[in-house]
């Protein structure tokens, strides 16, 4: 069974699944920083960064950059558009399973 931890080992769906994983985490948590998403999804820095960029460019997530002490910290949260897209996607999946 494919698990979130093993996303890197999945098939060609990997890219979309990482994005789905990111959105799922953000929808559940409200917001999360880069390190948290990386640990939760078990993906590499570069991989995660690429998918976060896609989600941001589509207006699905909002990025906030700040300094905590001397360390930079980037926090991600879903936008209203991202909320709607995710909910519509889940609803479509559920409808497909029901049918």
């Amino acid at each position: 069974m494919a698990t979130v931890r093993n996303l890197d080992a999945l098939d060609d769906v990997i890219h979309q699944k990482v994005r789905l994983g990111v959105m799922s985490c953000l929808m559940a948590s409200g917001e999360a920083d880069f390190n948290f998403l990386k640990a939760a999804l078990g993906v590499s820095d570069g991989n995660l960064s690429t998918h976060l960029t896609v989600l941001e460019e589509n207006g699905y997530i909002h990025i906030r950059k700040e300094f905590v002490g001397r360390k930079p910290r980037t926090t991600y949260s879903p936008t209203p558009l991202g909320h709607r897209a995710f909910e519509a996607y889940v609803a479509a999946l559920e409808a497909l399973v029901r049918s």
Binding site: Q16, L41, V68, V90, S99
Partner: protein, 213 residues
């Protein structure tokens, strides 16, 4: 707005694939919500506040005349509850910040909704007690513990095993508090201080070591 050549999420065409995606969503959500923002210090703080509340109640009941003690009792425990909620919020927020998450989330709203009925039942019982203290007497503490146990067990549905154990421990302690023979020499308030305060402190230390402070 940027229009991607590829869809942001994969277009799913079969029920099996849809189930797989729903599983990925569920796993990612569970992974992001479970136990990462639990604060050991929060459990300890709530336990200490409960102990302080029990000690101060002892003073109030000994020294304040009726009906003044009723107002003091209600005010004291409202303050204990308020302080516990504020401490829990601040310490959970601090912990969430440590692990890279926000404290206000759909998950947190789920937990609040789950806990609310037990707290509201306890509020109603407390108001009834303040208006009619002789009907319930010192057994109010047992009722409180049962209501709190119900809240904790409701929250445990979305949480780690330790929360469920804590909830059942409160349920057992609440029953003991209510059913304790009066001749035993230990009153319901003392039992609440020992169990409610003590269990929280033990839970806090355990959670602190296991998940973080």
């Amino acid at each position: 707005m940027y229009q991607p050549e590829q869809p942001v999420f994969r277009i799913v065409t079969s029920a099996g694939e849809a189930e797989e995606h729903l599983r990925v969503i569920r796993q990612a959500m569970e992974r992001s919500t479970r136990h990462s923002t639990f604060s050991g210090l929060s459990g300890i703080a709530v336990g200490l506040l409960a102990l302080a509340g029990c000690l101060l109640t002892n003073l109030i009941l000994r020294s304040a005349p009726d009906p003044l003690w009723r107002y003091l009792f209600f005010g004291l425990w409202t303050a204990v509850l308020g302080s516990a909620l504020v401490a829990d919020y601040l310490l959970t927020k601090r912990r969430a910040r440590q692990v890279g998450k926000g404290v206000r989330s759909p998950y947190a709203r789920h937990l609040i909704r789950a806990a609310a009925p037990g707290f509201l039942a306890a509020l109603a019982i407390t108001i009834f007690y303040v208006l009619n203290p002789s009907f319930i007497g010192p057994y109010i503490y047992g009722f409180w513990m049962l209501c709190y146990a119900a809240s904790v067990l409701a929250v445990a549905q979305y949480s780690v095993r330790e929360v469920s154990i804590l909830g059942w421990a409160f349920m057992a302690a609440g029953m003991v508090t209510l059913l304790l023979p009066p001749t035993l020499g230990i009153g319901p308030r003392a039992v609440m201080a020992l169990t409610f305060g003590g269990f929280h402190i033990v839970y806090g230390v355990w959670m602190g070591y296991k998940y973080g402070w």
